[in-house]
């Protein structure tokens, strides 16, 4: 009997050891550890992969150039945490990165639904968290350690609608009414609410907003319903699969609005262009970053070319955002001259950059500063249009491609 208990104890002990067996988190003294919270597996894994690529390139650059100079050339080590796109896993991974991997700062978490609770964990442990994720409320909780340099849902929706109005002004026919088709997710719901508000403020009648079920096999009825109200503008906030389906079914049901716009998501992914060819011509979309910005800002184009050479694909909207977050941390480290959380946090909060050629301006704004909530009030989004299978950057004018002209109405080239 006693023998048996010993054996059980051994088994339990081994299981325990297996759990502990994550490589021991002995951070070298001259090493800065940055935690990355991303979906590395699961249905959104490809985004995590792109984010990893961008960060790996950025970290290699810094390390090759001699590390963080104010820290005696300390090297940067990226530590990845896999959320699988699930909120609870994201929270656990954040905690693991903080308590086991002893990271000095965090970037995450792509999906707002994951980043929202995960960033609260970072706040609880007082480790700086650079957000990628657009959900407004992430930075509206009175947190001290959570920052967002890029646009939130409100800014993104505002840019899209302002861009539409500005671009439509010089074209005809005008936009008088709209429908919004948004996926029934936390992002779709949040962004469609904002879009409705800005559209109505711009004097456009919004017939209806529908939050359709994500990844449905068929959306014809939704399109038929939209067709019934004859909207001038269709706004879609969709993940890639649904974006493909909606675009095809609009074509099938002969729903051809004057303008077809997208809040971001699937419509601005390279895969969308690859798969949609002709039907995508003239779609306007809000994005936070597109390679076309390189036309106006040369260093970004160079950076993107290197990325293409290295990984065979350009930066994506989100991987660019992760890249920017990384550069903000690097900049703050140089100024803080320490990895102590408190001082690093203060250095990030004190970020103030207006030089477009600074690396933090990979998403170019008038300025990069953080307000009391941790949001960058100067952040803007961009409006791109798909023309001939490519994204052309049209708005805002300050960074628009000099030779780009708006195609109006939707599918004008093939009508």
């Amino acid at each position: 009997m006693r023998h048996g208990m010993l054996r059980i104890a051994t088994v339990l002990g081994l299981v325990g050891l297996a759990t502990m067996w994550n490589p021991a988190p002995v951070g070298a003294a001259d090493e800065v550890r940055i935690g990355v919270v991303s979906p590395m597996t699961g249905p959104t894994a490809k985004f995590g992969q792109a984010q990893k690529n961008a960060l790996t390139m950025a970290a290699d650059d810094v390390n090759a150039a001699g590390g963080i100079k104010s820290l005696g050339g300390a090297k940067i080590k990226l530590v990845f945490g896999d959320t699988r796109g699930e909120a609870d896993t994201g929270v656990t991974e954040t905690e693991r990165l903080i308590t086991r991997e002893k990271v000095h700062a965090l970037i995450g978490a792509f999906q707002s639904g994951v980043g929202f609770p995960s960033s609260a964990m970072a706040e609880r442990h007082q480790v700086p968290w650079l957000t990628f994720g657009t959900f407004d409320k992430i930075t509206e909780r009175g947190f001290k350690y959570v920052f967002r340099a890029h646009a939130n849902d409100t800014i993104k929706a505002r840019t899209l609608i302002e861009g539409l109005v500005a671009l439509g002004k010089r074209a005809s026919p005008p936009i008088g009414s709209a429908v919004i088709l948004a996926e029934n997710t936390e992002w779709g719901k949040s962004v469609s609410d904002k879009q409705r508000g800005f559209l109505e403020r711009a004097g456009v009648k919004v017939h209806f907003v529908e939050n359709y079920p994500y990844a449905a096999p068929d959306l014809t009825s939704l399109i038929v319903k939209a067709k019934g109200v004859k909207p001038d503008l269709v706004v879609a906030d969709s993940y890639l699969g649904d974006a493909l389906l909606i675009t095809r079914q609009m074509h099938e049901q002969e729903l051809r609005p004057v303008a077809y716009a997208a809040g971001g998501g699937g419509h601005v992914q390279p895969d969308f262009l690859k798969n949609m060819a002709k039907l995508s011509d003239g779609i306007l979309a809000a994005t936070m970053w597109d390679a076309a910005v390189g036309k106006a800002v040369p260093w970004i184009a160079k950076e993107n070319e290197r990325h293409v050479a290295k990984f065979g694909a350009p930066f994506t909207e989100d991987s660019a955002g992760y890249y920017q977050a990384f550069q903000i941390i690097v900049d703050a480290l140089e100024r803080a001259k320490t990895t102590s959380a408190r001082e690093l946090r203060d250095a990030i909060a004190a970020t103030s950059i207006t030089d477009v050629n600074h690396k933090v301006m990979f998403l170019p704004y008038k300025a990069l500063r953080f307000d009391d909530t941790g949001q960058n009030p100067f952040a803007t989004a961009m409006v791109v249009q798909i023309q001939g299978g490519k994204f052309r950057l049209l708005y805002p004018e300050s960074i628009a491609e000099p030779d780009a002209r708006v195609v109006w109405p939707y599918l004008a080239t093939t009508r």
């Binding site: 339990l12 297996a18 759990t19 597996t41 699930e86 929270v91 991974e93 086991r100 609880r124 029934n184």
Partner: protein, 595 residues
Amino acid sequence: MTRLSASVGLALLSIVGAALVPVATRALIGDDDYWLQVLIWVMFFAYLSAAWNLIGGFGGQYSIGHAGLLGIGAYTSSLLYVHAGVSPWLGMLAGGCLAAVVGGAIGYPCFRLRGAFFSLVTIAFAEMLRVGTELTDSLFGLPINGVRGFLLPVAGSRPADFQFVGKRGYYYVMLGLLVIILTVGWLVKRSRLGYYLAAIRDDEDAAAALGVHPARAKLLAMVLSSFFTAVGGTFYAQLIGFITPTRTMSLDFSVQMVVMPVLGGIGTVLGPLWGALVLVPIGEVTRALWGGSLQGVHLIIYGALLMLVILKWPQGIDPWLRGLVARRRETPVAAQPALADAPVVAARASPDGGEALLRVDGLSRSFGGAVGVRDLAFEVAPGEVVGIIGANGAGKTTVFNLITGALAADGGDVWFAGRRLGRETPDARSRLGIARTFQIVRPFIGLTALENVMVAALPRAASVAEARREAGRWLAFAGLAHRAGVIASGLSTGERKRLELARALATRPRLLLLDEVTGGVDQRSLPGLVRLMQGIRAEGLTLLVIEHNLRVVTALADRLVVLHLGEKIREGPPQAVVTDPAVVDVYVGATVARG
């Protein structure tokens, strides 16, 4: 008793050990919340799996929608806390009760059906609840934020509000919950309900034929399981502080609750714990090692393990672990000594005077055009032994199924003890006093011989202990006392037949239907079985016997009924019937042709 106290001792030791873990880790590796968090996840999934196991493992009803119940718990306590200031400790119970009602409501209609229906309904339920919650921004005027999720305010350290700083508080709460659910599982397993569920899981028809009310047992298990699952939901909400329908009620979650107990040992008390102890760390380790490069590896491992376990070790790893504890232990339950007081099988005096105990009149049943039984009529007097003979496909077993209520008749009546049977289910008819054996023996293969008979004795016994004594007597009567502690799957065919007889007798029937008792039995065991049947007959029990072996049946029966293609072609004293040329033609002719 020593075994019991040893188990309790081991359990207490483990609990104390587990309680000391946070203290030990603090001493060894400093404050390491990640470590605790992983242990919390292990215990949390062990807890959920154990809750699922009450219905899924013990009862064999595989729910694939338990995440819905988890969601009910999470949302109920969170809404009560945020909008009404009710402490989540109370909300936890409220959520549990609500889930118990909901679980019962979805379970009840399914439990009259079989197999996959329940699994499908639970999926549908969870999906409906998920989509419904995603679409609902406010409930009774209270904001729940639909798909955007519900955030619990962080109140810092407020144990009364189920909030703790750091992981230790959550760790101890979860440990407590885990101890509770494992204790509940342990108690259920040794209770009346536990035996019923085990029998239903192995063979629902056979259990019903012994008077077990399958729907009621499953319903009770589902209600318990739902309650505890929802309690886990409250814990989840408090731990994460943020709940969304998309995640909390996801199919993924439901599937995880199935995988772990199956791996650990489905239907065992500790199996869920073993499953979680293996799978949660696998998830963590693969994520830490390959999370960045190989996608979904842990899910491949989960799936492959699930398949492997089902194929190779259907009992999971629990028996293996037990083997580590007591490799050399003898058969666990001591054989019951044969009792001197041989049981009285039947009340000889019939309360119904000279009236027939069983009367069948105009009974018909067809199967999609093919005739099973047509316009059949016969009687069985109290104390009489009637044999039914006929070629294969003559409708003999169908007659039994119609009498026991396993099949509904298209037309005609069955009268039993002066009462016309209508919609009574097999278990109800068993309680009236109709017992049966099956042509292909159907022991509950997961239970010991003794436990098999206990299931039959329990519906009439005042306590589990009494049923155990009673069962011991019947086993002895059937000549199986020395095999009492053997798991039924280890019995020979002849022993299984005896077991079935003991089981049927333990229901204290007034009428016993024997379906081919000698069928498939080797020549050596035959005489013993015949002696046993004669013993039953000698006790004066009324018997209706289907028997292929004409020698056996003519010796046993007072009267024979001959069926051919569902119709009665002859009835009378055995010798007269078996020499009737028409019977010989039909019966022997078919037998010769067959083989």
